[in-house]
Symmetry: C2
Subunit: 266 residues, 2 copies
């Protein structure tokens, strides 16, 4: 399995000021490549907390760790310090990262966004990398992404600003993720009307026996949506080697459930 953990460093999320939409966006980019996100965790902007979470993931054997947030110029952006602490690495200015920061501030200066293209201490901070890390280009903001291979894992650090995170993932990172990916994934979401979610349980049990590889999740979409009862969203998914085979299995289960639900639940 291509397992992934997403580690978010963001006080503003843990204090309810910001809603994390980055994680869902990334999951939906990773899913078609057959990556499975096994955990998302949000911790405070705290070097020790970030390092502790990373060490636990490495111990758990996670292959790909993506961190978001905490790459900016201000004192409370400390994700890279956390990465360095986790792997006992010194922090040094990475020349390639500094070239990206320099180029971006030149662009911002020429666009009139900043007063000067000078590389201040705060801006240089964005090129302070854990030793051995390499930058991922960022044309949507000032802070490059960061990629580090350690103890069998790939650790990718992305900014928290959604436009920057998305640009880096869709551009320099996408081909790296695609190269690492293996196997196929497919899914189908169907809506059934049922008088009660509990009446659906035995039907799902039967479908599970029919295709044990297929995962079926029922979610109550709304309470008493119409006069017939609840709308229940059924999400049917499968991981495997061959796309054709898993597609067939998912279609089988979906057809079976739709037919059975029509007969027994309404």
């Amino acid at each position: 399995m291509n397992s992934v953990v997403i580690l978010v460093a963001a006080n503003e999320i843990l204090d309810g000021v910001t809603l994390d939409t980055n994680s869902q966006w990334m999951i939906n980019r990773l899913k078609p490549l057959n990556y499975t996100v096994t955990e998302t965790i949000t911790v405070r902007d705290d070097t020790a907390e970030i390092a502790k979470a990373l060490n636990r993931m490495i111990d758990d054997g996670v292959g790909l760790i993506i961190t978001t947030g905490g790459l900016g110029p201000t004192y409370d952006d400390m994700t890279l310090k956390g990465v360095a602490e986790a792997f006992s690495l010194p922090m040094t200015v990475d020349p390639d990262a500094l070239a990206i920061v320099r180029r971006q501030y030149k662009v911002f200066y020429e666009a009139g966004v900043v007063d000067s293209a000078e590389i201040t201490e705060a801006r240089r901070k964005m090129a302070m990398f854990p030793e051995g890390a390499v930058p991922l280009d960022n044309k949507a903001g000032g802070a490059p992404g960061v990629m580090l291979r350690r103890e069998g894992a790939l650790i990718v650090s992305l900014p928290g600003v959604p436009s920057e995170l998305k640009w880096i993932l869709d551009n320099p990172l996408m081909s790296i993720l695609t190269d690492r990916a293996e196997g196929s994934y497919t899914e189908k979401i169907i809506n059934l009307t049922a008088r009660d979610e509990s009446m659906l349980a035995p039907l799902i049990d039967e479908a599970n026996k029919m295709e044990p590889d297929v995962y079926i999740k029922s979610m109550v979409k709304s309470m008493v949506d119409n006069e017939k009862g609840y709308v229940i969203r059924l999400w049917i998914s499968c991981h495997g080697e061959e796309m054709e085979e898993i597609q067939r299995k998912v279609d089988n289960v979906a057809d079976f459930l739709v037919n059975l639900a029509e007969k027994t639940l309404t």
Copy 2:
């Protein structure tokens, strides 16, 4: 500190089908009571993963753990099994929980939502509690909330359906959370216009020295929002004993930053 961890058990979130909005909603309910959420973690609907996460939190000395999701009638709702496994407790039908389930299905039956008020195996599952747990009433759905005290921690399990989670937290749970709470919290969010977030770093450093208890977080709200530059949202918050005192500190910092930003950044 009144520390809280939120543990979400939800494949549908880790597979990108659903966006978790429950956590932010809960954080904003807990914050005025001076609770600090130190971590949110989402794991798969897997008994062992849920138990492992809970054991880690207990080891970390977390005082309040709130789980969401996985209390429903279907086979993949396994949060309570995870709680039972974490604390090596047997699962038994709780008579008070069963009375709530029974009452709710009677209500649903009388409203014509379900065909029968019978307590089927799937419905009885919602009253299968780890031994020693007590139910929290739920008038918005079928599954009661669950509360367990173990090893110095209070573990509260809430359903994942937002309307049910909100009802339980705002009704039976709120007075319990209020009784446990200590101290005061206040916050203020201000928007500054600055040419660049990196220019703000030295100002924040100065404000930090002035009021070390006050936490200042800068967040880029939008890239180049107007001709003057970026809009940067500054969030200024403080925990403490006396509301009057922390209010004064937060106001001090906000006034200081607004004045300084007007002079130096625009």
